[in-house]
Symmetry: C2
Subunit: 199 residues, 2 copies
Amino acid sequence: MTQDTPAADTTRDRVLSTSASLFCRYGYAGVSMRKIAQCCDMKAGSLYYHFASKDQILVEVLNLGIEKVHAAVAAVLRVDASPADRLRGAIAAHLHALLEYSSFTSANVRIFRQVPVPVRDSTLEVRRGYEALWDGFLGELKAGGHLRDDVDIRSFRLMLIGALNATLEWFDPELGDVSELADRYADMLANGIFAERGT
Amino acid sequence: MTQDTPAADTTRDRVLSTSASLFCRYGYAGVSMRKIAQCCDMKAGSLYYHFASKDQILVEVLNLGIEKVHAAVAAVLRVDASPADRLRGAIAAHLHALLEYSSFTSANVRIFRQVPVPVRDSTLEVRRGYEALWDGFLGELKAGGHLRDDVDIRSFRLMLIGALNATLEWFDPELGDVSELADRYADMLANGIFAERGT
DNA sequence: CGTTTTACCTAACGGACGTTAGGCAGGCAT
DNA sequence: ATGCCTGCCTAACGTCCGTTAGGTAAAACG
């Protein structure tokens, strides 16, 4: 019944990691302290030695989810490359964080909207930081004349991140290659799917 | 506390409609029979006159969600128009069904992956029918030479529907115009966002 | 008018929930 | 050796869960 994602040496980290995958799969209300504890080979009461409440676990899981994907994308964007390559790389980084590295980012995507409002609000700042990272990058591209003049950056960012996050619903990293997926998405988004461009 | 979406004359329909919006907001496990009943001005036990179990409500909500969006998109695709207009229209139909008409489609998108496996399986067939509707349309476009040869229809359909469904996370139909949103999405997806097409 | 059916109710069942209080074993410093 | 701190445990609290059994008032029907 021990169901954890990657390496997690300390008990506290193991609880967070386990909670993330459970939240991701069963939703916020569908995961009990007893189930989290059971998956960590503990008893429910012991969780309160590390965390004050279920909601505190939740807040930490949600924030870690954004922080991890933020760090991965930011690292890619720091290196110099062509606009197409940077877009490809940033998309690949987001997808790897979402689909492979851990369940924190996927848990955030899945349960963000069904979490109690105070919890959601306390994670908004971290979230906005990630949005700003993308807007900055896309703004650079536009300033450099690499984007169509008539595409709105915010609209595209929302569509892009939405499309990436939605892969969670169907993509299985054991069956497909995340990097290939990223390349396909980057190509379709950058160049469109129509044979000829028109209005 | 009466929280229902649109017109729903019979009690049974009102229960389904109410359940859909509650499931959408709070997740599957986050909605109790007592809360559903309360929002319908009933007592929990009375729900069992209309439905055998919570899971039966869930199955009907999930299936209605797909059936409604399927009907809306199919109606649009029946009329003759240019490829760009048909794509725009189909996207608009999906978005209207998702964001405006009722909570059934949005509930499906939000909770499909956190529902008990038997329930999920019993709604797979309806889901596949909707995917086939899109694949048929996109196949026509490709056969007519309107799509780039190197875009994979299944990949694009997954990206497209994912992007559309993800609007649920941020778009508020009281603040923005769904048809405008559809136009922007259709344009970005059809033509891409880069100033010049490249590899 | 009597009877059946419809659509709801109340009350309760066993169990799971988040959380807390108090205990206990082992490592640490003094 | 003694006492504190860490990290877990058990047991219980009050509440809520899905579901069921049995009742009741009104409408529909013969």
